[in-house]
Amino acid sequence: MLAGTHWLNAALHGMAVTKPENDVFHTYLLTVSEFRRLSVADESLINALAEIEDLRPAFVRGNFPGGQDAAQRALELLSLIRSKGNKE
């Protein structure tokens, strides 16, 4: 999640959609308006991080069954986010 957030911020800064002093911390802390604005820049990027964040309650804070599948899904999502953020 943290790595994905940093990659997301790198991607958004790279697209000049956000400024370096305005990093996203969590997608769920964005206003609806800002979430929608960032989705215009790259909807799959924002949704990928949101999906990683949505895994946290059940599998990091909680012990819901299926942690291994959740981890695999998180890695897939991270790979997607990284591909967009790692463009230096």
């Binding site: 943290l2 957030t5 309650p57 059940a58 990091v60 804070r61 909680g62 819901f64």
Partner: protein, 151 residues
């Protein structure tokens, strides 16, 4: 979540932390420690009957994921159970002194979260030691409250 489940999380995260180098792997080491400490605080709050230990998972303050009849999880408003971080949400009920001390130790850890993990502050040796010592004291207080926690 049940106290025993929090204790299991603490054990797993402590095992992970022992594999990490605090300086080279600072972000993961820190996050594992912070998460372990939060589980420890939740275990202690449940043990002290300050918060509920229902098997529901915190998503946002006041919102928990609750298992449905079909096995899926659905967000719902729910009375205070697990906290997400110390202070989130704030606990209005009286807290025993030892648990309050645990929460204070985690506040010492949490103050470094955004500057060192999200922003650009360098995690110095002093910061690493401060976090490690604070978590150590938190977990020691947990062991004193629940002696069967860890070997």
């Amino acid at each position: 979540m049940k106290t025993s489940s929090h204790l299991e999380k603490v054990r797993k995260l402590e095992t992970l932390r022992r594999k990490l180098d605090p300086a080279d792997d600072f972000e993961l080491w820190f996050w594992a420690g912070m998460t372990a400490g939060t589980h420890a605080v939740n275990a202690a709050l449940h043990h002290a009957n300050v918060t509920r230990d229902d098997d529901v998972f915190p998503a946002q303050p006041g919102v928990y994921l609750v298992q449905q009849a079909d096995g899926s999880l659905k967000p719902a408003f729910h009375p205070l159970g697990d906290v997400l971080h110390v202070g989130r949400p704030k606990i209005d009920a009286p807290v025993p002194a030892d648990v309050a001390a645990m929460m204070h130790e985690m506040e010492i850890v949490e103050q470094h979260r955004d500057p060192c993990v999200r922003e650009r502050r360098e995690p110095t040796r002093e910061i690493i030691e401060q976090c490690d010592n604070a978590l150590g004291r938190c977990l020691q207080l947990l062991r004193e409250r629940i002696p069967a926690v860890m070997p």
